[in-house]
């Protein structure tokens, strides 16, 4: 299956202009920054003070008014969109596997970034940060980005907190931090996300779940095998047990929602059978599911 088919790319083209990123990563890009800079977009005039760059003097205005003023322009900065893809073994579940959907979501977001002249960086996380490629820029890098995503193979356990902390530590400047995961992690990943937000990262959480995780179809006496650890849990799956499981899942959703609200982040949840364009639209709209 190709990660981006033409119809989907067409949709993404329409969406790319609507993507807003709250963080700046430093070099020029298509995204206008809130601070003043050197782009072609005029922002305001300011009286000249000694030491100002004379190249920024508005000579015609000085000629008309006799008052030396500087012409200021809105700065244009690029953004590093860091795509942290959960590569733990749990992403191998589902039909299609959750990893497949996670790759496609990451590819779509990566396309939006590259098509907007931003930089995109692919990172893989499992029981820590296991892969961190150099950021890439421009549409020409799309093929490389897709190859990077394709090469991620689900394995090992999950430690999102460690992975997010690793990204923050290794990022010289903040950017957009997109975490694509099932978030089935018992660890304290909310704290790590908080640390990332405090460091200036613009957070976006994309949760991918398989249908059987949203509505367990099993019943009877089962030995549930953990895909990551191989541990067995003996469970009698009946209505009451499913009810308790779903309550716990709701609690996880609530935690993610609360984390997103607290840090002004985006939280998009989708099942492997759900429409991918819808999910990307919700992502671009920066919603909280």
């Amino acid at each position: 299956m190709t990660l981006l088919d033409p119809a989907f790319v067409h949709e993404l083209e329409a969406l790319r202009r609507r993507l807003r990123v709250k963080a700046r990563s430093g070099t020029g890009g298509e995204h206008v920054a809130s601070r003043r800079g050197s782009s072609a977009e005029f922002l305001e005039h300011r009286p000249y003070t000694p030491g100002d760059d004379l190249r920024r003097m508005d000579w015609p205005a000085f000629a008309r008014t006799g008052e030396p003023v500087l012409k200021l322009f809105r700065a244009e900065e690029d953004v590093v969109v860091r795509l942290v893809v959960d590569a733990s073994a749990s992403l191998d579940a589902g039909d299609p596997p959750k990893m497949e959907v996670a790759r496609r979501v990451a590819a779509a977001i990566g396309y939006l970034a590259l098509a907007s002249s931003e930089r995109a960086q692919v990172l893989a996380a499992s029981d820590g940060l296991v892969r961190m490629r150099e950021p890439m820029r421009g549409r020409a890098a799309l093929a490389k980005l897709l190859r990077e995503l394709d090469s991620i193979v689900p394995a090992r356990g999950t430690d999102l907190a460690s992975a997010v902390d690793g990204v923050v530590l290794r990022s010289p400047r903040p950017g957009m931090l997109v975490v694509v995961s099932d978030f089935l992690d018992a660890g304290p990943f909310e704290a790590a996300l908080g640390r990332a937000a405090s460091s200036g990262h613009d957070l976006a959480l994309v949760q991918v779940l398989a249908p059987e995780e949203l509505d367990p179809p099993w019943e009877g006496d089962l030995a549930l095998e953990d895909a990551e650890t191989g541990a067995l849990l003996e469970v009698t799956v009946d209505a009451r047990a499913v009810e308790a499981y779903l309550a716990r899942l709701q609690e996880l959703f609530a935690r993610l929602r609360a984390t997103a609200k607290r840090h002004g982040a985006t939280y998009v949840r989708l099942g492997t059978g759900d429409s991918l364009p819808d999910a990307v639209r919700r992502f671009v709209a920066r919603t909280i599911d």
Binding site: K98, D185, L222, L224, R240, Y245
Partner: protein, 645 residues
């Protein structure tokens, strides 16, 4: 209500099945494996459930719990738990125990460990232990005759000890007589009275029990069992038509009281031998009544020996599977004629019978010669004080006392006016036209009877005693024209035939258990010794040629011997042979004066006094198994709407 009894504790052996059940359950754990992304949420959910529902762990093992429950219930049900007794209401209680032959029936078939009698004794002892304060009880057993086992007593231990001594009598019971005795004993007492009748319901007599208005309850013991028994036995001897050899024929009637057909063997064995002399194979259809004839050619030494007829294989009631008899004497009847006359019409008539061994002696010799104890002894012209042998015929005795009859003065030409046509000695003959020229008058008063009468006196008298036929003819046949008539030959022949019948029956004739037996012994015998099954040898007084034996309460062969005036013995075969005692299926016990409702309520109360819980436990086991099946095959309840998206 008394404590719980286990009627068949062997059922508890099934509890051993708990071990493999639990082991299999532990080993079983064949949970379906399901790979999931993470068990984290499931583990959390499970903790939540256990916190909310602490018994969930137990519910998870519900099948094991149900299977253990079913196994325990089944094991206890097989052990047949029962409660006995109930509250015994009454100041004076009569416990009537049926001790008839059917109470020997084994519960649970021939291999059963207990009998109905054991069960009945437990019930009776339980009643004794349940007496109220100040109440007393009397225990009466209902055998052939009612017998008080324990008089009115307040001490439960003494009552229980007395009940423990009660044994089954191999007789037809008389429950009505025992109940009547109980009612009679209680009637004179004040306070509240109660009769508790413990019986299997297989009663020999169908008349209702008369309780005289005293509250009564019938406690039934035992279940319906299949049974077949020998309900009649008879032994004859004769000549085989083809071989002309002597042959003993044993006629036995076998009756089935079973719901199913079965094969059985009837064997005939001589007493003290193991090899049967004859046997037959039978197919006993339900409710069938089959006659069986077993024959064999006796050896000379076999005459007078005991015979055992056995129905095999045995069944729940063993007493009716065996019957006893006696090998009759030789087919040739020994007859001794003691006469001093040169010519005897009687001898001439007897000589015409080819099956007679005739021995002629003089009257004085009669006291010295060895006479067969079964022989017919004919004395002519005299009346000795002691006549040996079995039956006796005395013709023309001298005046005086003869065999209990007073012989008086001569009578000339007495006309024969009547005779006892029903008497076996005068059967098929007429005395019309017989003229007697001279006869001695016979006084047939007392226990003797007149057989042939003239207008003024008795010409032929019967002086029989039990087991022995004695005929006294008051005239010499030579003094009449009777020998010239066929009736004389018929008379002599009839006397011989009667002696032959007595010889076949032996000294006492057929004896049924529970009845007293009379044994013919020599006139001078004053004491006989009785030896039989389960009995130590005991001495019994004899008088006037008869020994009256006490009721023989066990079926079997009894030996009676005497030593004076000469050594002799007799064999007595006592049999139950009772179809009603062999029919061991319980029947309603009717109580006179009780309405149908009252009778049934008594029965219901009685059943309550003997409550078996096996059926309830069986039901519990079935329910547990059904619940187990439901639980293991149940469908999950429908999901709530709200599977998360």
């Amino acid at each position: 209500m008394s404590g719980l009894h286990l009627l068949d504790p062997r059922g508890l052996l099934l509890l051993a099945g708990l071990v493999p059940l639990v082991v299999l359950y532990i080993l079983k754990i064949k949970r379906r494996r399901q790979r999931v992304s993470s068990t984290w949420l499931w583990a959390s959910a499970q903790r939540d459930l256990l916190a909310k529902h602490p018994f969930r762990k137990l519910i998870a093992e519900l099948p094991l719990v149900l299977e253990i429950l079913a196994l325990i219930a089944l094991a206890v049900a097989l052990a047949r738990p029962s409660t006995r007794g109930g509250t015994i209401d009454g100041d004076h209680v009569a416990v009537v125990l049926d001790t008839s032959a059917s109470m020997a029936t084994r519960i649970g078939g021939p291999a059963g460990a207990t009998t109905r009698m054991d069960e009945a004794k437990r019930v009776a002892q339980n009643v004794a232990s349940q007496l109220g304060p100040g109440a007393d009880a009397i225990v009466i057993e209902a055998g052939r005759e009612a017998r008080v086992v324990a008089p009115l007593d307040r001490d439960p231990r003494r009552l229980q000890a007395a009940i423990a001594t009660v044994t089954v009598r191999e007789v037809e019971g008389d429950l009505a007589g025992a109940v009547a005795l109980a009612a009679d004993r209680l009637r004179s007492l004040g306070g509240r009275q109660r009769i508790v009748i413990v019986t299997d319901g297989a009663l020999a007599h169908t008349e209702p029990l008369v309780v005289g208005g005293i509250p009564s309850e019938v406690v039934g013991v035992g279940d319906d069992e299949d049974n077949a028994g020998i309900v009649r036995v008879d032994v004859r001897s004769g000549l085989d038509a083809s071989s002309h050899h002597e042959q003993v024929q044993v006629f036995a009637m076998i009756q089935s009281f079973a719901a199913h057909a079965r094969e059985a063997y009837v064997t005939l064995t001589l007493e003290g031998r193991t090899e049967p002399v004859a046997s037959r194979r039978l197919l006993l259809e339900p409710e069938a009544k089959l006659p069986v004839v077993l024959t064999f050619e006796p050896q000379p030494a076999d005459h007078g020996q005991g015979l055992v007829v056995q129905l095999a294989p045995g069944d729940a009631e063993p007493v009716d599977d065996v019957a006893f008899g006696r090998v009759p004497g030789s087919v040739r009847m020994p007859v001794v004629v003691a006469s001093d006359a040169p010519y005897s019409w009687t001898t001439r008539a007897i000589e015409a019978d080819p099956n007679v061994d005739l021995q002629r002696v003089t009257v004085p010799q009669l006291a010295t010669v060895n006479v067969d104890p079964d022989a017919l002894v004919i004395v002519e012209g005299a009346c000795p004080a002691s006549v040996p042998g079995q039956d006796a015929l005395v013709l023309a005795p001298g005046p005086g006392l003869c065999m209990g009859i007073t012989v008086g003065a001569p009578v000339d030409n007495p006309p024969i006016t009547s005779w006892e046509t029903a008497d076996p000695r005068l059967r098929f003959l007429t005395l019309d036209g017989v003229h007697v020229a001279r006869a001695l008058s016979l006084d047939a008063a007392g226990r003797s009877a007149s057989l042939v009468r003239s207008s003024s006196t008795t010409l032929v008298a019967d002086a029989s005693v039990p087991g022995r036929a004695v005929t006294v003819v008051g005239f010499d046949p030579g003094d009449s024209d009777w020998p010239l008539k066929a009736s004389f030959v018929l008379f002599v022949r009839n006397v011989v035939e009667l002696a032959r019948v007595h010889r076949v029956q032996g000294a006492a004739g057929p004896v049924r258990t529970g009845d007293p037996a009379r044994v013919a012994v020599p006139a001078g015998t004053t004491e006989v010794f009785l030896d039989g099954p389960g009995l130590p040898e005991r001495a019994i007084a004899a008088r006037d040629g008869v020994a009256v034996l006490p009721p023989l309460e066990r079926a079997g062969l009894y030996h009676v011997r005497w030593t004076a005036p000469h050594v002799g013995s007799a064999l007595i075969a006592a049999n139950l042979t009772s179809a009603r005692e062999s029919d061991i299926r319980s029947r309603p016990v009717p109580i006179a004066g009780a309405s149908a409702e009252a009778a049934s309520s008594r029965t219901a109360h009685a059943l309550d006094a003997h409550s078996e819980w096996a059926s309830w436990l069986g039901l519990l086991a079935a329910l547990a198994i059904a619940a187990d099946v439901y639980w293991t095959t149940r469908q999950m309840s429908p999901r709530r709407a709200g599977a998360l998206r």
